[in-house]
Amino acid sequence: MSWLLTILVFLPTVGALAVMAAPRGLSRWLSAVFTGVVFLLSTWLYIGPMLSSGGNAAVFGNVSHPYWVDQAPWINVTIGSLQLKIDYHLGADGLSIFMLVLNALLTFLAVLGSWNIAKRQREYMALLLLLETGVMGVFCAFDLYLFWLFWEIELIPMFLLIAVWGGQRREYAAWKFVIYTVLGSAIMLAGILLLYFNLGSQTGQYNASFGWLATHHVSGNLTILGLTVSSQLIIFLLIYVAFAIKLPMFPFHTWLPDAHTEAPTAVSVLLAGILLKMGAYGLIRICVDFMPSGAHQFAWPLAVLGVINMVYGGLCSLVQSDMKKMIAYSSVSHMGYVILGVAAAVGPGATNPAFKEAALTGAALQMFTHGTITAMLFFSVGVLYDRAHLRDINAFGGLQAKMPRLTWIYSFAVLASLGLPGLSGFVAEYLVYTGSFSTFPILVAVSAFTVIITAGYLLWMLKRSFFGPLNPKWSGITDASILEMTPLITLAVLVLFVGVFPQFLINLLHPSLSNIIQTISGAVTASGR
């Protein structure tokens, strides 16, 4: 037991308490220190194993044998033949480390990005820190119940952050967000219980730890309302509903534009950068790995929905006039890549598992890519909004003349978002496309249409707002300050680095993902499909 994960999860909570206890003026400094420390510690998750193994990425392990483990017994109740066993079990393999570090970084940057927030700064910072705890927990919980617990914990601060610090329709947006999500997690809990007790009665051992679930799969059928369906499919669907809402997947996506539009800048950043990734992470880590043959049976609908996400989100972005809403819909579009990649990984055909791993790696990289790039976009819009108190694309025009720095970095983010090679978006999209094609040729061909739409709406937005002759009404606007540029530049460097040298991330993910691919192949072979 190394305690590092426990510290990472609960240090932000300590920070939140400290912020609440400290004088108001100190709150932002304290939260910057705490999130900064958490970020530095989180990098050790990557550096530590790399140093100890001399750079061999295989050391990160997979879901059954993660490198980092914190485990302690917690609840163990036996009622008759039923046993309820919940462990305090944190773990981190490549896939988790990847998300943990991203979360730590984005939260730190979000604190910097909210430096000048005026309204109830202390409470705001404390909630940001609490949110970090919840999300950290989700990404490193290795017990299904614990996972669900953290999944719920994250919701509360997010709800408050939107409902208190949001824009005009913040209450509507916050409620919509929370009702959608709670509905999903209620259904997910049903799925978790079904999985736990079914598997328990089948194997005779009640255990919700990820390592156990990844190696022991439910079998047999369930009869629901007279329909007999394979248990894996039922459980997959029940649990996936929560992730589909979070991702968000069409048709569960409508909370996203509202939440993004109303949330304050830094919260939008976290929402897009991290919270959506929770859905993707859950899909890969839980749905695919624990119910491989259920996922396999659902692969076709999943792929179709992924493609709908991509194209539909893109089309919706095209006609938005609100910048944030446009970026929100572009998130829908971009998360479609994740769905498509995962669908291809579990899908039929493609006897060559290498293609599947390419698709899955692409999906995982897309999580990183979207997290960083959309964060940049939201930070940039936030800078603009702070000055103009407007986000309407048509209200600006020619800002390039007055805000060269912002134009520069915003263009960078836009180009990264539309998949420019050399930036991380390209790597992910290219892997997803090339990896998925052999599984779903027609669908992928249709989805490639997205590359046109994406370029269209992003560059058109840039053209209308930033280029052309300066709108005389904005002659007094000032450029982004150094403080505002800091998170943007940090992310830009990261996006560029990953775009040019993606292999360090791919190596980090490889042990986890190849394990998942093996699980899928094993399950698919066993089911004889």
Partner: protein, 745 residues
């Protein structure tokens, strides 16, 4: 010597170093220095420009004033005059729209003349860029001679860089590959680049001094991208380069600060042109990407040299489809019909950029792509693939030439001529048995077209940005240092014997006939006639005209208002240097003098050289047609013995003129497709979101609320009601219980 080939990565490295230095050290210094001097100037002037109190507008006012949408709408309809007029009228109805239109007109009639000079750091940026580029050029020449020396190097050499990932049997390599094709392309790219960069110093100094260092950074970025594209060993790398040149082009087209649509000139704003270029290219990339995916799914590799082996036994139809889709990418990048619409608009960028990117190098990338995958097109795909290439090229060549005959904007004539010449290259690749003829024309065209564009830049520079040929005339005597090389290039593109364009173009025309394709022969020869006509029309309108020497060939009446001023050495020297290959490069493919370009480019010493054009009687047909074209142009615009509107007096001619002048209404068609196709779909999607999905969600919400509102009436607040309900409930339970227990049996 071989080191030049083995370490070919030096070529992209040098501009990369220049870019990094420029972007991260020199440009910040430039900006800081400039800001400080600007501040000093402002303080000296004593009036503060910014007052924050100006920005007191409510959100509604700003959105409704529709300043931006007026600009954008007019910008989007600039190619479709009727729609533009409508947009203008609509715009006049709102305050912001009025403001926007007024601003547009003001900027068009009195373009802002940027003042100030580049700072010392900006100049340094230029020098660094040029130095890096020159190093690359020298290295490329070294590689070329290394290949002459050691013919085995022409076969190709893979230079591994690193690996994204390898899973089982598939891999994503980031590798370079160098063979004779690569080196020829690199020489062209570096040579034109270094000259254009040298030329740009003076051009950008007067056009946009504030963006001086940025401009050189983007030029370096473009050079790197183009080199990655050229050096790529696989489809992954070539796609990376492909997109990067696209984005460099985007950045450079939108570079100029005079960023408003020109209503009367019928020209979009640079940013609109950049957007159009990028998105149109993406349409091609869509096909390209699918083609790559098909090949990858079949073979598990992207590498050009491995794909053919692994394709053994694959369905030919599938490969044909894949190659046609790959060709889609080339269609986009090389501006072939139907994706040619972006290139004329791209002329809104600075003229050196037009010369480098939109004439000589980037637009040739499509040709290079087909040449690079030539084996797949000809040996693995069915004959339909090559047919598609050849006929797309042939049709585009004719189509663009027809449009070029009636344009009045000098740069647009050159743009359509570029499209037309690129069509020739595709014809060459489609009909010939090797990639020799197409690449040969690419090479010669790169130089003479760069020369033409730089020459037109010299004209624009002399006339302070005037692009309309009706406002020119007789310039040959005023700027002879520009006119002379320009004339050489015009002759070359028109197919005058002994100049480079003659050799390369005639080889392609000969190949169509050798392939037995009469239709293509007729098309290409007729296009050659049109080329000679419209190029000399442009020449006479610009440099010649009635009253000039030699029957209007040299000098004549000047129709403009601006006083032309002579260009400096930084402008005319590159022109002179480009004139050298324009004249002599053709002899590399002239067999009687020992030139065998074909053998070099294919890496096969045994490959037959191009046929001797003078030995082929059909050559004289095309020469005659070229002279005919020149002659008609001379009569119409030089000596003006035939009135310019002679052909357009009858209704047929008038209709044709309108058709050509409006570019066959392709832009109108696309505009309609976008508005009634894509945007309709987008609006439907949004409505689904708003009314169906959110309707269901909100419906459930208000349903629950409604039930709650109804049920809450039950809560009267009177304790006795509650009591009655409570005991009534108890009674019901008891009654049910009794009914079941005592009477249920």
């Amino acid at each position: 010597m071989d080191i030049f080939v083995r370490d070919i990565w030096v070529i992209p490295l040098l501009p990369l170093i220049a870019l990094v230095l420029n972007l991260f050290i020199i440009r910040p210094l430039d900006v800081a220095y400039r800001d400080r001097s600007a501040h000093a100037g402002a303080a000296h002037d004593g009036h503060a420009e910014h007052s924050s109190s100006e920005a007191h507008y409510t959100a509604e006012e700003l959105i409704e004033s529709s300043y931006v949408s007026a600009l954008d709408t007019i910008d989007g309809h600039i190619d479709t005059p009727a729609a533009m007029n409508h947009a203008l009228q609509t715009a006049q109805k709102t305050s912001g729209g009025k403001q926007a239109v007024a601003l547009m007109r003001q900027l068009e009639q009195h373009p802002e003349h940027p003042h100030g000079k580049p700072t010392i750091y900006a100049r340094l940026a230029g020098y660094v860029g040029i130095a890096g580029m020159f190093g690359s050029f020298a290295w490329a020449i070294g590689a070329l001679f290394a290949m002459f020396n050691n013919a085995s190097l022409q076969k190709g050499l893979t230079i591994p860089l690193y690996n994204w990932l390898t899973f089982g049997s598939i891999s994503y390599h980031v590798n370079f590959y160098v063979d004779s094709l690569t080196v020829v392309m690199l020489v062209v790219v570096t040579a034109v680049s270094v000259l254009v960069q040298f030329y740009s110093q003076e051009y950008i100094e007067s056009e946009e001094p504030r963006g001086y260092s940025r401009f050189f950074a983007w030029l370096s970025l473009f050079a790197i991208s183009m080199m990655i594209l050229t050096l790529s060993a696989n489809f992954l790398m070539i796609f990376i380069g492909w997109e990067l040149v696209g984005v460099s082009s985007y950045l450079l087209i939108g570079f100029l600060g005079k960023d408003a649509p020109k209503i009367d000139g019928g020209r979009p704003s640079p940013s609109a042109a950049a957007l159009k270029a990028f998105v149109t290219n993406r349409v091609g990339d869509f096909g390209f990407l699918i083609g790559i995916m098909i090949l990858f799914a079949q073979t598990g590799t992207f590498t050009f040299t491995e794909i053919p082996q692994k394709l053994q036994g694959t369905d030919v139809t599938l490969i044909t489809a894949a190659m046609i889709l790959v060709f889609c990418g080339a269609v986009g990048k090389s501006a072939q019909f139907p994706l040619h619409v972006w290139l004329p608009d791209a002329m809104e960028g600075p003229t050196p950029v037009s010369a480098l990117i939109h004439a000589a190098t980037m637009v040739a990338a499509g040709v290079y792509l087909v040449a690079r995958t030539f084996l797949l097109f000809h040996a693995y795909a069915g004959p339909q693939a090559s047919m598609v290439v050849a006929y797309t090229g042939g049709f585009t060549a004719l189509f663009a030439a027809l449009i070029a005959t009636v344009q009045v904007d000098l740069k647009r004539v050159l743009a359509y001529s570029t499209i037309s010449q690129l069509g020739y290259m595709f014809v060459g690749l489609g009909v010939a048995g090797t990639d020799g003829p197409g690449m040969f024309h690419l090479m010669t065209h790169a130089f003479f077209k760069a020369l033409l564009f730089l020459g037109s830049g010299g004209v624009l520079h002399a006339l302070s940005g005037q692009q309309n040929m009706r406002k020119m005339g007789g310039l040959a005597t005023k700027i002879p240092l520009v006119a002379f090389p320009f004339l050489l290039a015009t002759l070359s593109i028109s197919g005058m014997p002994f100049l480079s364009g003659f050799f390369s173009k005639d080889e392609i025309i000969a190949q169509t006939l050798a392939n037995g394709d009469v239709a293509l022969y007729v098309i290409t020869v007729f296009t050659a006639f049109l080329t000679a006509f419209y190029m000399f029309r442009a020449w006479f309108l610009t440099f010649g005209g009635k009253g000039g020497a030699l029957g209007g060939l040299w000098g004549g009446k000047y129709r403009g208002e601006v006083h032309p001023h002579a260009p400096g050495i930084r402008i005319w020297l590159p022109l002179m240097l480009l004139a050298i290959p324009t004249v002599f490069l053709g002899y590399w493919g002239f067999a009687p003098l020992g030139g065998n370009f074909n053998a070099f480019i294919t890496g096969n010493p045994a490959a037959a050289p191009f046929g001797n054009p003078f030995a082929d009687p059909m050559t004289y047909v095309s020469i005659a047609l070229a002279f005919l074209g020149i002659g008609i142009a001379w009569l119409m615009y030089g000596m003006e013995v035939i009135p310019a509107d002679a052909l357009t007096r009858n209704p047929v001619g008038k209709g044709l003129h309108a058709l050509f002048f409006n570019k066959f209404y392709v832009d109108e068609l696309y505009m309609a497709l976008i508005r009634f196709g894509i945007f309709l779909f987008a609006k439907i999607a949004v409505s689904i979101d708003k009314y169906v999905i959110d309707g269901i969600i909100n419906g459930i919400g208000s349903g629950v609320l409604g039930i709650g509102r109804g049920l809450r009436k039950v809560e009267t607040g009177r304790l006795q009601n509650y009591g009655a309900a409570f005991f009534g409930g108890a009674l019901i339970i008891a009654a049910a219980f009794i009914a079941v227990v005592y009477f249920g049996k």
